[in-house]
Symmetry: C2
Amino acid sequence: MNSKMESPRGPRPSELRRVPGIDYGDLESHFGYALRRAQIASFEAFYRASAGAGITPPRFTALVILHANPGITQTTLGNVLGTARSGAMLLTDWLEERGLAERRSRADDGRVWGLFLTVKGEALLARLRRRVRENDAAFARRLAPRERSSLIRLLNKLAG
Amino acid sequence: MNSKMESPRGPRPSELRRVPGIDYGDLESHFGYALRRAQIASFEAFYRASAGAGITPPRFTALVILHANPGITQTTLGNVLGTARSGAMLLTDWLEERGLAERRSRADDGRVWGLFLTVKGEALLARLRRRVRENDAAFARRLAPRERSSLIRLLNKLAG
DNA sequence: TATTGTTATACTCTATAACTATA
DNA sequence: TATAGTTATAGAGTATAACAATA
């Protein structure tokens, strides 16, 4: 791991742990609140796994998508990530500056770039994938095996 | 509802819907990704319910907490919301400027404010609570009744 | 005309650090 | 000394709008 950490400032996952003596009202019965709490907990787990590489969840998603869909355009990447074109551009810049991805011009359409992971990008993804998976598994260990598959299924059903 | 909408710009929940023809790799099997997708979907539902009032999920949480814990301090509110003191301050300012909450000095400790909802704040909370609950229920209708209680239980177990 | 990538700009959220008043 | 609130500042993320090149 590199000892030079990126972005020591800026938004990191907050704690959102229970504060003793506080009455949370009916918050616990809301799906929105329960999802928010669980997602923040999972963010924490992710950051522990990817600390030092500067890889956030959206960036990790971009690496996975580029690996599985070589030659994808920036606009499509933005659609997958749910961001505007300009955001996909900044993300692509970030990856390219670090030599993780590259833009290649495409003969069939002069307007678009095809995006590809570099060898370095593929290597980082392979390393991260292992650690993220381990961390995801460790995080999920709070549940019984049957509960885990049940939760994934329910979440995907809920997300539509 | 007021026709004057707040913050027409700025971050709103993005879509993050499946893009046809894209290979998502093993993203679906990650808890982090499934949680993120489900949470964004629930954000969308929340924003539909609270559109126009400028109430975000953290602000709604603050209203609920202030209602259930009258006289709470800003620092404690920040702990509940998982934000720094300065963030709790800005949130309190926002609520106070709109006449939803007020700061009262406390005789026992000159350093702190006691925070309270105003009559207007209580009224807004009552209205929002109904609509948020309805929307939460509509959102959850994608699941069978037994699945809903199961999901809430699993999420809370996961969040710790 | 419509779309892609780009650039410029603005806004929200939230963190850190230093300051003041009080404990 | 420690803590609450405050203020100032900075940074990340992301949106909108306008522009040039290409379809």
